[in-house]
Amino acid sequence: MEITVPALGEVEEVTVLQWLKGEGEEVEAGEAVVEVEADKAVFVVESPAAGRITRILIGAGDRARPGQPLAELQPP
């Protein structure tokens, strides 16, 4: 399972501002895990399910496209 950049319509790119959770950390469904910034707002991305973040794919300061995986999540 993956945590992805939220659906943001025709927004082309967002910047990862900061990770609120690190690799190896357990998260609950709906828990805030990462902040990404688009031109209009900052989005606090929530985990779609409970699990452990096994790998962060896009680090702080890097860019990503809507729908792109930001991290891998392993269900419990």
């Binding site: 945590i3 659906a7 025709e10 990462v34 209009k40 929530e46």
Partner: protein, 289 residues
């Protein structure tokens, strides 16, 4: 990014694909949520609501706050669009459908007949559903405005967008402050029972007394619902934000606007014209906001 965002422009968003995305793509329906890079998209779509963008995705106007593509489409409206819209409204079980469109100065009626066809079909097939039409100015053609109004939407919106002084700088030269007020006035003259609605974007460099004037002008033409939102630049191609207004400032304007007679006011940094549209209409019908 133009500058650090204030803390009130933080939005929670699910980090997984949304069901609504697939449905809208399969029905080939456009939304202003997508075209405008709306920050509420994850919120609204997560709740199963969207604002449909009719008449294509290319606008004949080039307003400097807006990310919708500018061009001269030259194509006739898609005759299947009303049916697909109906399918979406049914699939999403919408109680309140909000329709808007690009400006179509390339069509003799500005797209009014197509807009009306969409509304008529929704009203006929889903009589329990309320319909809100956020219309362009149709170049001020009263017949076009009448076509939409007579199709029976409960709410007709037309946005003033900004104060008088900034209008030439912010909106397309074919748009106009007085023209927009005339559109709202015409809707009320044609159908006094139709609820009218208009929005102002704040943070474009307007002065307090200019905002006051714009709100008074909207009330003077009988506008029922006032919407005040923060101007947010969709991409570096649009005008920069001059100022981020704190939520308290929106609340002050909202209090004042209610006191001078608006039946409902929706105001806040992340508020857009169709945000909480169903609740705004409910507030008008209950006689409170």
């Amino acid at each position: 990014m133009e500058r650090l965002k204030p803390p009130w422009l933080r939005v929670r968003a699910p980090g997984a694909p949304l069901q609504l995305e697939k449905l809208l793509a399969s029905l080939k329906l456009a939304t202003v949520c997508q075209s405008a890079h709306c920050p509420n998209l994850p919120t609204c779509w997560g709740e199963g609501t969207a604002t449909f963008l009719l008449l294509g995705e290319v606008c004949t106007r080039a307003c400097r706050f807006c990310a919708v593509q500018t061009g001269w489409p030259g194509e006739k409206p898609d005759p299947q669009e009303p049916e697909r819209l109906l399918q979406a409204a049914k699939a999403l079980k919408l109680n309140h459908v909000v329709l808007t469109s690009v400006d179509r100065d390339d069509l003799p009626d500005g797209g009014a007949a197509h807009f009306a066809a969409c509304i008529r079909l929704l009203r006929r097939e889903l009589p329990q559903v309320t319909v809100e039409a956020l219309i362009p100015d149709f170049g001020g053609q009263r017949a076009a405005i009448e076509t939409v109004v007579r199709s029976g939407p409960q709410v007709v919106g037309h946005n003033l967008e900004t104060v008088r002084r900034l209008t030439p700088r912010v909106r397309d030269p074919r748009a106009g402050y007085d023209l927009s007020l005339a559109v709202l006035k015409a809707v009320k003259e044609l159908s006094p029972d139709t609820v009218t609605k208009s929005s102002l974007l704040l943070g474009l460099g307007e002065r307090e007394e200019e905002v006051e004037e714009a709100i008074l002008d909207l009330r003077a033409v009988g506008t029922d619902i006032l919407v005040l939102g923060q101007y947010l630049r969709p991409s570096p191609a649009q005008l920069p934000v001059q100022r981020y207004l704190p939520p308290e400032e929106f609340a002050r304007w909202a209090d004042w606007a209610r006191r001078i007679g608006f039946q409902a006011v929706v105001a806040g940094p992340l508020v857009r014209t169709s945000f909480r549209a169903a609740q705004a209409l409910a507030a008008v019908r209950c006689g409170s906001s």
